[in-house]
């Protein structure tokens, strides 16, 4: 496995299968009375979050702790970053304390890549701007693999499935990572968004990564084996992408009426946080087929798996 997890490009299809296999065992640990494995005992992981997060940060923290690592959380608010310290100085400072792994979220696309070039400990990208969010894509894939594999997370259970990814694709790192990982898992992705929220130049990209695009959600829904609704990221928008929230919901929200267009038992995913009533209706979010909470529990298992594979084994640098 690659030393860092900055992008889905860092993992092969076979490595994704390995990550899923380990995650399945970690899932069992979640149900135990003693939720502790000694694999990362004595190792220190720092979660460096320059952007707000609930589930990603807390699940990385839980994942590290259940593997017996010492986990430290640092957010931009309340750290020296708010006093004007540069990203490089912050990263070099925390690394100098003797950490063994760094999880970073930053609003700048490419931040994780840059950080990986400055320090020699494994770096995990927990979301960089509008670029990638690889652990989210892995946990989405894992939740889907478990769903289609009836509890067994076989990566090949996604083979040939049609996954509709719907919403604010322009601003979505979740979309970018999922397109790559779902392609590696053999799924067919249909990207659905209003023209204003479809990434520029998507045509060429769709060709090279093997997905299709549509502006018509109602046409896509009956064909979908899974639907992933993405959040409308108002914090990254400077207005003008759609006339009104109401109009967005009418065209692209997973409303109660649209639920009826889905095939029976089609799983509904949302990476959270959800804008209930905007991109997803409460009926859809709480539907029997909703995997939203499965995604959260999968998040801990998958992040345990990633931390284990990146930090527990032999350190090539030490042995070089």
């Amino acid at each position: 496995m690659s030393r860092h997890l900055l992008s889905i490009d860092d993992v092969s299809a076979g490595e994704i299968q390995t990550i899923f296999e380990t995650a399945a065992e970690m899932h069992d640990v979640q149900r135990r009375a003693v939720k502790k494995l000694p694999a990362l005992r004595g190792r220190t992981v720092i979660n460096l979050f320059f952007e707000d997060s609930t589930r990603t940060r807390s699940s990385f923290e839980i994942a590290g702790k259940w593997l017996s690592a010492d986990v430290i959380n640092l957010s931009a608010k309340g750290s020296s970053a708010s006093k004007g310290e540069s990203l490089r100085d912050t990263v070099l400072t925390v690394t100098a304390m003797g950490i063994d792994g760094l999880v970073i979220r930053h609003s700048a696309s490419g931040a994780a890549h840059q950080v990986a070039g400055w320090i020699d400990v494994p770096v995990i990208n927990a979301g960089d701007g509008m670029h990638e969010h690889p652990t989210q894509a892995l946990l989405d894939g894992y939740a889907l693999a478990r769903h289609f594999g009836e509890g067994r997370a076989e990566a090949d259970s996604l083979e040939g499935k049609t996954v509709a990814i719907v919403g604010d694709l322009t601003h979505s790192r979740v979309f970018r990572s999922n397109v790559k990982s779902l392609a590696k898992l053999g799924a067919k992705v249909v990207a659905v968004a209003p023209p204003t929220l479809m990434p520029a130049g998507v045509g060429e990209w769709a060709k090279s990564d093997g997905f299709s695009t549509s502006y018509d959600l109602d046409e896509v829904l009956p064909e979908a084996d899974a639907v992933m609704m993405l959040r409308v990221q108002r914090e990254r928008m400077s207005g003008g992408y759609f006339p009104s929230p109401r109009e967005y919901t009418v065209g692209y929200g997973l409303t109660r009426e649209r639920l009826g267009r889905l095939k029976d038992g089609v799983p509904i995913l949302h990476p959270g946080p959800m804008n209930r009533g905007l991109e997803i209706s409460p009926d859809a979010a709480d539907a029997a087929g909703s995997l939203v909470l499965d995604q959260v529990s999968a998040g801990v298992a998958v992040r345990m798996s990633v931390l284990y594979h990146l930090l527990a084994g032999e350190n090539e640098k030490e042995n070089a």
Binding site: T22, E25, A33, L37, P38, H309, A312, E314
Partner: protein, 203 residues
């Protein structure tokens, strides 16, 4: 996965020797436990798992009622985790009622350094509190590095550290046999000597 060195190895136990050894271990376990009450046979991955099942079948044949078996993976508890690339752990399967208060018999194929058993004991303590933990192994090849001994041994096999014990089972390797192969240059049980079926070698 067949050991490529099998052909060159000296066969020390054949299928019927293994069968007899397992039958004897089964009777020993029953005698020691005074029956099959509260007994749980926990096989260590990989080859301990089918061995535990075989012992359970034999006990069932004698006692007339079934004995629970399960599997235990100790990957994350190993003390040499950092000296190898990581691999995915296998399934750990325990009875739904848990292991608290049970007599747990750990079953492994080859007892060597004792480090796998140390890891298994640590894993067990995270999974519950058995009344008694015992150890049954098909082959004890010596060279212990920790104060650990087996309660039930199929065959004591004096070996040199430079030798490799290959233990093959029908379930995992297509045949039942135990072989010894001389493998000069590997002197330490946890380095280099990663034979199929060797304790500490299954990674």
């Amino acid at each position: 996965m067949r050991d490529p060195a099998t052909g060159a190895g000296r066969v020390v136990l054949d299928a019927s020797d293994i069968g007899r050894a397992l039958t004897r271990i089964s009777h020993e376990i029953l005698e020691r436990n005074k029956g099959a009450e509260d007994l749980f046979l926990l096989g260590l991955h990989t080859r301990g798992v089918p061995l535990a099942r075989r012992i359970a079948e034999r006990i069932e044949a004698v006692e007339g009622h079934s004995v629970a078996t399960g599997s235990l993976d100790v990957t994350m508890y190993r003390d040499d985790l950092r000296s190898h690339p990581t691999r995915s752990p296998h399934k750990t399967e325990l009875p739904a009622s848990g292991i608290d208060g049970k007599t747990v018999v750990l079953v492994d194929d080859v007892l060597y350094s004792g480090r796998t058993i140390r890891a298994a004991l640590d894993a067990l303590s995270d999974l519950g509190r058995p009344a008694v933990v015992r150890l049954a192994v098909l082959v004890d090849r010596g060279h212990r590095e920790l104060p650990i001994r087996a309660d039930h041994v199929g065959k004591n096999l004096p070996t040199a550290r430079s030798e490799r014990v290959g233990l093959h089972l029908i379930e995992t390797d297509g045949e039942d046999s135990v072989t010894i192969v001389d493998l000069p240059g590997s002197e330490h049980p946890d380095r280099g000597d990663r034979a199929v079926g060797d304790e500490g070698g299954d990674r």
